[in-house]
């Protein structure tokens, strides 16, 4: 089976929005995020409950639900160029007490998706996997 390819959304200033969000995560959260992304690349349809969505009004959006002390809710969509082999990570949000942080996360993710569709060449770049470096040991 061919592996899927991940892309990150970049804003109009060329800033990698998803990478910036990922850089703020702790090691435990980052590990869970990367584990889910690793499965997504291998076989997105196989793990039950991996991709959640669509929600009413947002037919193209999907989220990964990542449980933990901090509940991560990365938004993504298929494509935009090849909807059978690509995902683009659009926006990173959190969920606390059944509410999204930020509250308009779905709208922001959808806006990014629309921008991506309009200009797929400029508004994405290959996904940058963030790996936390081990803490330097001071002997």
């Amino acid at each position: 089976m061919t592996a899927w390819i991940l892309f990150d959304y970049v804003d109009e200033d060329g800033r990698n929005v998803f990478k910036d969000w990922t850089l703020r995560l702790q090691a435990k959260e980052l590990a869970k995020l990367n584990q889910k992304l690793d499965m997504l690349i291998k076989n997105p349809e196989l793990p039950p409950g991996l991709l959640v969505g669509p929600l009413k009004g947002y037919p193209q959006l999907r989220i990964l639900k990542i449980k933990g002390d901090v509940q991560l809710r990365p938004f993504l969509c298929k494509g935009s160029a090849d909807k059978d082999h690509e995902f683009t990570l659009l926006f990173g949000a959190l969920e606390k007490d059944w509410k999204y942080i930020p509250p308009n996360a779905w709208d922001l993710a959808e806006a990014n998706r629309v921008n991506l569709e309009r200009n797929p060449q400029e508004r994405r770049r290959p996904h940058e996997r963030i790996s936390k470096k081990p803490k330097t040991r001071i002997c």
């Binding site: 959260e29 990367n34 291998k42 076989n43 196989l46 039950p48 933990g68 936390k132 470096k133 081990p134």
Partner: protein
């Protein structure tokens, strides 16, 4: 070595990271394997629920990678329903990296006892023809780790799986 294994080799240097990755992978794999084994048998969730004497709503909950409250007892009931063996053991992190790399339907499929060629007698003759060797390859349940060399002595203290019995037969134990 694949790109993923290279990444994990580096990332697993962080203890918090590797244990969190392991927990997430474990939950994902169990849920996915339940679904794969059920689909292999062409069962609906209600069929599995009946075979395992559980409610269909429980099966639905277990077949979700975000479920994390596993009990050995529930898993044993599912193993009995699927007629496969449940193996729980501690492993080194290298095996986690390799398992993550080969994640897929094929790696999770397990035949039920009645379709296991090892017990049909066909494969037994082939096993007996294999020359005995002081060093043997041991496969993990999730697939092959061919670089893992173990001696027959180590096999004797290994888990009592069909695979180890097969190896024991080869060297005449």
């Amino acid at each position: 070595m694949s790109e993923l294994v290279k990444n994990l080799k580096q990332e697993f240097a962080d203890k918090d990271y590797r244990h969190s990755y392991a927990e997430s992978f474990l939950n994902s794999v169990i849920a996915t394997q339940i679904k794969v084994l059920r689909e292999m048998r062409k069962w609906r969730q209600s069929d599995l629920a009946r075979e395992a004497e559980m409610k269909q709503s429980v099966i639905s909950r277990l077949e979700n990678i975000n479920y994390s409250s596993w009990s050995i007892k529930s898993l044993q009931k599912l193993a009995q329903a699927f007629d496969v063996v449940l193996t729980v053991r501690f492993e080194r992190f290298k095996n986690l990296a390799l398992d993550a790399d080969r994640f897929g339907r094929k790696a999770l499929e397990v035949v039920e006892f009645s379709k296991d060629q090892f017990f049909s007698g066909v494969q037994e003759a082939e096993i007996l023809q294999t020359p005995a060797s002081p060093e043997l390859f041991l496969s993990t349940p999730a697939g092959s780790t061919k670089e893992e060399m173990v001696t027959p002595v180590e096999l004797l203290v290994g888990a009592h799986t069909a695979k180890t019995q097969q190896f024991q037969l080869t060297v005449g134990y």
